[in-house]
Symmetry: C2
Subunit: 196 residues, 2 copies
């Protein structure tokens, strides 16, 4: 009989959780939305009932996926920005990376979560903090661009981004959404560049 | 004993309703929000209980105020636009008039209504139709400006306007809000003008 140490049990649990998260992210990217628990369990190679040992409800799974993806989302956005030096280009890269991430299905867990009832606590503890953290590089680049009220302009640019993701949800192709978002934001950014 | 004809009764009722609506609009403009039924009745020169003869609930009063103000709102916006001929100027006038109307408290009934539970039916029948009707002049001027997807750009400009009204609600002065909105939208509009 093989000896089952606490470390082995903990490791097994971590592996199962990782498999569930990876299966969820994979399916989200394929479908553009998070499917039911049964399909996620099946993709992770688990019985439907087993998934509930790790995530007692869909809501808990949604929170875990969102938290798991957050650092990668931030890394993708800042990585795109870092391919440029001029603030206007960095802001455009920020906007484009966010459109691409939403279009790739990487925001589907967040959207599903936002539609769940009773998420106020999660929003206050996590989602709002994440969205504020995501605004920071935008505020920073607007300051570098020399605008005098960077925080308010960041709110306006973020609203444009939000409008763009609404058009993605309506089924408009990502390339067209990015074209619209670029042409509505770029003249503002260039107008500040010219003043330098 | 004076003869009370049906016409007199109907006329009296219309006058009371008009007095309640006028009192509501006046108080909304003074306070930036619609006060309680008692204060409205008092301003209209009615007993608190009498207001309920005409509007059985706050919700019904909010709907009546919103419907009463709609044609004046539209007239103010199109009136501002009509002081200009160039499409970019007309679009800026549209945005500025909307900011001024919200800042003056004229949207307070709509805001209060939006916060009421169970307004889906009203939104579907009226508020959505009104907001869509309000987008029409914007779409028309964007087409005159020569943009190739005027309806989507109108959605973006409308989201900027919505962001601006959010800043008003946060207490930012109307003049500053309009300055922010103008500087974020005007470069886009001018960039299309230059192509003519």
């Amino acid at each position: 009989m093989p000896k089952i140490s606490a470390a082995t049990v903990a490791q097994h649990r971590d592996e199962q959780i990782r498999a569930i998260l990876d299966a969820s992210i994979e399916l989200m990217r394929e479908d553009g939305a998070l499917p039911g628990m049964g399909r996620i369990a099946s993709r992770a190679g688990l019985a439907r009932s087993s998934i509930y040992q790790y995530f007692p409800s869909r809501r808990e799974l949604l929170i875990a996926i969102t938290e798991d993806m957050t650092p990668r989302w931030l890394a993708r956005v800042t990585g795109s920005m870092d391919r440029h030096t001029a603030p206007a280009e960095r802001i455009l890269a920020y906007l484009e990376a966010n459109v691409e991430l939403v279009a790739s299905g990487d925001h589907a867990a967040g959207d599903a979560l936002a539609a769940e009832p009773g998420i106020q606590e999660f929003v206050q503890n996590h989602a709002q903090a994440l969205h504020e953290r995501l605004l920071e590089p935008l505020v920073h680049e607007l300051e570098r661009l020399g605008v005098d009220d960077a925080e308010h302009y960041a709110v306006f640019l973020n609203a444009q981004l939000h409008t763009a993701t609404g058009l993605l949800a309506q089924g408009l192709p990502a390339a067209r959404v990015w074209e619209l978002l670029r042409s509505i934001t770029e003249p503002f950014l260039r107008s500040h560049e010219e003043r330098d």
